[in-house]
């Protein structure tokens, strides 16, 4: 049995005092070499779910274990460190700081983590860019805003992967891409993952990209959302 990266139990989160928005998770587990596709409509709690996992939201009840450590009652500094050390995160769009170079955008991924810096080799930027079909020579010193959206998303993947974090989270990374680019993106993402070490959670509003994922779940199967 492979190692559990994330386990969530009996989690209860509500926003504000009047509980207008609340989210419940009975059980969620991400193991090493798992790849999750979680789909669902907007407002179904996908972003809240990811924010809870990555420690930027604090639930009122329950446990979130990241690599065996329950982060619910940890200080935000500890949670920031855990996120920095063990997570790689890709957003929907605008993942990059437009005014710095591609290289620096990728290096930013390990800037706040000693662990990632230790695990990352000097030529990791090139290795990742090669894996993600980004022309190193052409692009490495370009400013991020000069790249196409597709290239930017792949740079974002490189940033998420640098320093070999165990948990990769992708929040609708393909929504800004056209169909061909979406497929290519997913292919490259899986190609560059180290399946023996890493686990992937990707959320998306549809499940048409699901063929590569081991586990595909509707968000409603994981979370019970009350949104009055």
């Amino acid at each position: 049995m492979s190692k559990i990266l994330i386990s969530v139990e009996n989690l209860n989160y509500s926003l504000g005092n009047n509980n207008k928005f609340s989210l419940k998770i009975n059980k969620f587990i991400l193991k090493k070499s798992d790849s999750f596709l979680i789909y669902g409509d907007s407002g179904a709690g996908k972003s809240t779910f990811l924010n809870l996992l990555s420690g930027t939201l604090r639930p009122q009840e329950g446990a979130i274990n990241i690599l065996g450590k329950n982060i619910v009652d940890s200080s935000s500094a500890v949670k920031d460190k855990i996120r920095g050390d063990h997570f790689g995160i890709v957003f929907q769009t605008f993942n990059l700081l437009p005014y710095i170079t591609v290289k620096n955008n990728i290096l930013l991924g390990k800037a706040y983590s000693n662990r990632k810096q230790l695990l990352s080799s000097n030529d990791e930027v090139k290795i990742l860019m090669d894996k993600l079909s980004l022309n190193y020579k052409d692009l490495v010193d370009r400013k991020a805003y000069e790249l196409s959206i597709g290239q930017q998303q792949r740079v974002a993947v490189a940033r998420a992967l640098i320093g070999k974090p165990e948990i990769i989270i992708a929040d609708e990374p393909t929504s800004a891409l056209d169909q061909d680019n979406q497929k290519e993106f997913i292919n490259l993402l899986f190609k560059s993952l180290d399946e023996n070490e890493q686990g992937l959670i990707m959320v998306s509003h549809d499940k048409k990209l699901s063929n590569k994922f081991k586990i595909v779940k509707n968000i409603t199967e994981i979370c019970e959302v009350n949104n009055d």
């Binding site: 935000s76 920095g84 710095i100 930013l108 991924g109 800037a111 706040y112």
Partner: protein, 511 residues
């Protein structure tokens, strides 16, 4: 390393607004630097100039005016005092040394100080430093000139160079020129006459003229001029109406002389020389001394021979001048030091009790401290204004940072996603502020150097303000540290904002 790159690139990305903030900050900072330097320089230059002078005796008038004029060479000269007064005053047993000063002429905008060699011996600057000669030495001859270091460097003068002295303080005044004659034996006899007349003119004409000047009685003077032209004795009769023309013979003599000069037809006057020759150049003192041209009192007297008031009435040759006893009739002020400084108030009373002329004794130290009291408030007001300007610039910086925050929320979410804590993000903001304020301080400092490089001569020539050093002073460091600290404090507002934002947004990127 990458974090620093991040800050720099982020600032570069917003270069226009940053540049504007840096400009406003730099301008206000340079204003502060400039004002403090001018204040300091004024004070030190004033303080340094009057070392060792216990009292300045001059015609009764405003103490400050006397001091500014005689010591700092600023403003119009005060009324003259009689040479006899100088003699009487220096008889006072309390006096250690006394140096007479005669002002009112200039050379290419630099003020001429008529004095004695004692000036270079006795006057000190910068708490007791002697005035030293860079080249040459003090006056030996009537027409010897000693110049200050700024005069020498500005006008590129060297020892032996001939210079002309201009009457009055403006650069366009009439130049004192001299004519030399080839005196033939026959003519010599005639000239004896001249000398007589000269003496006469000097002793009485001069006093007369002083009266004129004091009363601003120009009509009289014009009448006088008419006399010379018309040689009309009936006119003379009219003149008897005038009180101050007690001595008519004088006028006749005068006219005689004019005629005489005309008769001579300026035969031997073909060589008009500049008259004065540089014999000494002083070392730099950082005081108004550097901007002065020194001439012996005899030289001052020589160049005014033949002058009445502000007009040259008689052309007198060098030879004639030299035959006279060149003792001044009047001087502008006396610098003096007492044997015992505690006697200063007694001496002051002695001066006030002097019967023959209304004179007073000014104590440089006390007068200066009065001046500081007077200017102190202006100083403060200036500093407060510059401080407010700096605060306004800092407010501008806060406004810019806050305005930029919303568009940078995405940036913050990205940083959060890679593990940056809200504290990290706030510290990025603080580093930005520090960078902006440091750059502004440096730019302000450079701006200050530029301002002074451009305005140095103007300040020096017009206000006697010497800016010699641009080095960072203690008070500069204080203000730099204050500004950086204030910038940090100012950043607290946007920092709180961004802290809240990052907590609320988490990883969700808000557009």
């Amino acid at each position: 390393m990458i974090k620093f790159t991040l800050v720099f690139q982020s600032l570069l990305n917003r270069w226009l607004s940053c540049l504007l903030i840096i400009l406003t900050l730099a301008c206000s900072i340079s204003l502060y630097f400039t004002v403090s330097r001018i204040q300091e320089s004024v004070k030190s230059s004033f303080k340094n100039t009057v070392s060792g002078v216990d009292s300045v005796v001059a015609a009764r008038g405003g103490n400050l005016q006397i001091l500014l004029n005689s010591v700092f060479l600023i403003g119009e000269p005060s009324a003259p005092i009689q040479w006899n007064t100088y003699k009487d005053i220096t008889d006072n047993k309390k006096i250690k040394w006394a140096v007479p000063i005669s002002l009112g002429d200039s050379h290419k905008g630099f003020r001429v100080i008529g004095t004695t060699n004692n000036y270079f011996k006795e006057i000190k600057y910068s708490s007791g430093k002697n005035i030293e000669f860079l080249l040459g030495n003090s006056f030996n001859d009537v027409f010897d000139v000693v110049i200050g270091s700024v005069v020498a460097s500005k006008l590129n003068y060297d020892i032996g160079e001939e210079v002309a002295i201009t009457h009055g303080l403006s650069e366009v005044g009439e130049v004192h020129t001299f004519h030399s004659e080839d005196v033939s034996p026959e003519e010599h006899a005639k000239h004896e006459d001249h000398d007589d007349h000269e003496d006469h003119a000097k002793h009485e004409d001069h006093d007369d003229h002083e009266d004129h000047a004091k009363h601003e009685d120009h009509d009289d003077h014009e009448d006088h001029a008419k006399h010379e032209e018309h040689d009309d004795h009936e006119d003379h009769a009219k003149h008897e109406d005038h009180d101050d023309h007690e001595d008519h013979a004088k006028h006749e003599d005068h006219d005689d002389h004019e005629d005489h000069a005309k008769d001579d037809d300026h035969a031997g006057h073909d060589h008009e020389n500049l008259g004065f020759k540089i014999t000494g150049i002083l070392k730099s003192t950082g005081t108004p001394i550097d901007n002065a041209v020194f001439v012996s009192l005899a030289g001052i007297e020589a160049m005014h021979t033949g002058w009445i008031g502000n007009q040259k009435v008689i052309d007198v040759s060098v030879e004639q001048i030299m035959k006279n006893e060149l003792e001044p009739k009047t001087i502008s002020a006396i610098f003096l030091s007492l044997n015992n400084r505690t006697q200063i108030f007694q001496f002051k009373r002695d001066v006030l009790n002097y019967k023959k002329e209304a004179i007073s004794s000014v104590m440089p130290g006390i007068t200066l401290s009065r001046l500081w009291m007077l200017t102190g408030n202006v100083d403060k007001a200036f500093k407060i204004i510059t401080f407010f300007i700096i605060i306004i610039a800092l407010l501008g910086m806060i406004a810019m940072t806050i305005a930029g925050l919303n568009s940078r929320r995405r940036e913050m979410a990205i940083l959060r996603s890679v593990g940056a804590s809200p504290t990290n993000i706030v510290s990025l903001l603080l580093v930005e502020s520090i960078i902006i304020s440091i750059i502004s301080c440096i730019a302000g400092y450079i701006l200050m150097i530029v301002i002074f490089s451009l305005g140095k001569d103007y300040l020096q020539n017009n206000y006697g303000i010497f800016i010699d050093s641009f080095s960072i002073k203690n008070y500069d460091l204080q203000i730099i540290i204050t500004i950086i600290f204030a910038a940090l404090v100012a950043t607290i507002v946007p920092a709180i904002q961004i802290y809240k934002n990052t907590l609320r947004d988490g990883l969700s990127v808000k557009s």
